[in-house]
């Protein structure tokens, strides 16, 4: 008897869960299903292109498919047909004994201020996906100006700031495409103001992210709104203070950090953003920054392809991710859009134990068809061999100083994977 398990979403949570389940039981078969023909979720499409070391974690995930017998079913979207899904959750559950949803949270959170829809305003998820060549955003080109305001104080905001501030030679070794490097340098960026709602010691970025900025070659830093220095202060404050004193003398860009300002509205001229307005947290003071680009990096949300709210509200144990025996939620989709790659690992190990315990308590009949049924119904799905062929195409002929040239269209991925074109 083999228990058939489908994990929807081949990002870090899904992969770590497959790893942990594989260690607990050997009478299971696991398929990782993803809407894209390529696995690894935000490791491929979120983690900054100039942080290749972090992407090394995929070597572990590759073992799942290469040595541990996990299957990959790519190019299959699960969920509501109104959101272009190929297969509903109910249908998928007919094929498998256990289904786990690990589809992440890919929609950008909105600020909810007037003027938010002006041209020149971009959201973090769109930009980071675009720079990472995600097929959803490859064709939408952000027109970046010279004076940028970033709203948000998390690591994603710092990733965006760093990518905007780097000069082309600082992308050596990354997989940032030449077209992006070129557009970034053509934008002729001069100022970046990064504004957070919280005081500096409550900012959500890690101190190492700030120290890394100190190494940028052509950038000067100004840090406003810091409290007076104190011995043994918070590491973020120390890193910011140090950054304020660093900075290249021949800088052509200035980055200003500001803390404790609440975004109020964006105003524009001819439909394009020209000013960002803030007020002091807990006070009446106003701050107006002239800009031609406004970027919001304030978190992520559900893309509504699956009814997350309903799943969470009917869960027998929402915190553990157990909706009911046979149906579970993992990773960002379960927890919300917080937490780094290691947190998903710890979480996945807990969830695997829960699933194993439920399997003990409610042993399934073990007669589900699994991926055989999916492949019989869709000749458009891809497999792990297909991803290897895509990977090969992406790493075969790379420009100087780059480690990969990503394919940006699903069509091209499918062609490289050797799969049939979609016929619908």
């Amino acid at each position: 008897m083999t228990v058939q398990i489908a994990i929807v979403g081949a990002g870090p949570s899904g992969c770590y869960l497959a790893q942990a389940l594989g260690k607990l039981r050997d009478d299971i078969h696991i398929d990782l299903i993803d809407r894209l023909p390529v696995p690894y979720g935000l490791v491929r499409y979120g983690v900054a292109p100039d942080h290749q070391g972090t992407k090394g974690v995929v070597r572990q995930f590759a073992r799942l498919f290469e040595k541990q017998g996990v299957g990959f079913v790519g190019n299959l979207r699960i969920g509501d047909p109104e959101h272009d899904a190929d297969l509903t959750l109910a249908e998928l559950r007919e094929f498998y004994d256990v289904v786990v949803l690990a589809t992440g949270l890919s929609a950008d959170r909105k600020l909810g201020i007037p003027g938010e829809e002006l041209d020149g305003i971009f959201r973090a998820g769109f930009l980071t996906r675009h720079w990472n060549d995600h097929p959803d955003e490859a064709g939408r080109i952000p027109g970046l100006g010279r004076n940028v305001v970033i709203v948000g104080n998390g690591n994603v905001a710092i990733d965006i700031l760093r990518i905007l501030a780097k000069t082309p030679h600082e992308f050596e070794g990354s997989d940032l495409a030449d077209t992006h490097t070129q557009r970034l340098s053509e934008a002729g960026l001069q100022t970046i103001d990064i504004v957070g709602r919280s005081p500096a010691d409550a900012a959500r970025f890690d101190p190492v992210m700030i120290r890394e900025l100190g190494k940028l070659s052509a950038t000067r830093f100004v840090v406003e709104d810091l409290p007076p220095a104190e011995d043994g202060e918070d590491k973020r404050l120390a890193a910011l203070r140090e950054l304020g004193e660093a900075g290249a003398s021949d800088a052509d860009k200035t980055v200003t950090f500001r803390f404790g300002w609440v975004p109020e509205r964006a105003t524009g001229a001819d439909g394009t953003v020209s000013e960002a307005h803030f007020h002091k947290a807990g006070g009446g003071e106003e701050l107006v920054i002239a800009c031609d680009t406004l970027i919001t990096a304030i978190g992520f949300d559900d893309d509504r392809a699956m009814d997350r709210e309903a799943l969470l509200s009917r869960a027998v144990d929402a915190e553990a991710g157990a909706v009911e025996p046979g149906l579970y939620l993992a990773g960002w989709f379960k927890r919300g859009p917080r937490g780094t790659i290691p947190e998903n690992r710890a979480d996945a190990q807990e969830l695997a134990k829960r699933i194993a315990a439920d399997l003990e308590a409610h042993p399934p009949a073990g007669d589900r068809p699994g991926a055989t049924a999916i492949r019989a119904r869709f000749d458009t799905v891809t497999d792990y061999e297909g991803w290897l062929r895509i990977d090969e195409a992406e790493t075969a002929d790379v420009p100087d100083g780059r480690c990969r040239r990503k394919l940006t269209l699903v069509e091209d991925m499918l062609a490289a994977a050797g799969a049939k074109r979609e016929t619908r």
Binding site: Y16, Q19, H51, Q52, G53, T54, G56, V57, R59, Q60, R63, G173, D206, P207, V208, R211, E212, K235, I341, P342, R345, A346
Partner: protein
Amino acid sequence: MDITILYGTETGNAEMLSEDLQSHLEGSHEVEVSNLAEFDPDGFDKARFYIVICSTYGDGELPASAQPFAEAMDARKPDLAGIHFAIFGMGDSEYDETFNHGSKRMEELLTAHGATRVGERLTHDASGEDLPEDLATDWADQRVAEAEPLLSAASDA
């Protein structure tokens, strides 16, 4: 020789490398693998050789799975005189100021309690060209060769 591979990890790279080294050494040795989180500092055995693989997190800190071990060491202060270990670090030069500080701390922790390091600590850079297993297999073979006479001298004494 009886070998224990101990790993401290957060995203699992050190665990995977431990498993690789186990398969590599298993033909000629008796090899156990243990997560530092599950290893009791009172459980060190002079008759075994320890290979410690440890990554780095946060601001040059020990990874999550090594932290309970470090706390238990501090609390119980075991006497590790006569214990031989080799240490391999995993880090990322993106974090250059704290590059591989986790494995350095782990080394200091073990030697501070009297354990003897065999050979140099080798560090892997996730942003570099080398795969950890490519660096670690030769390194481990050499450390094991160096440890063999040390451990048999100790058991003769």
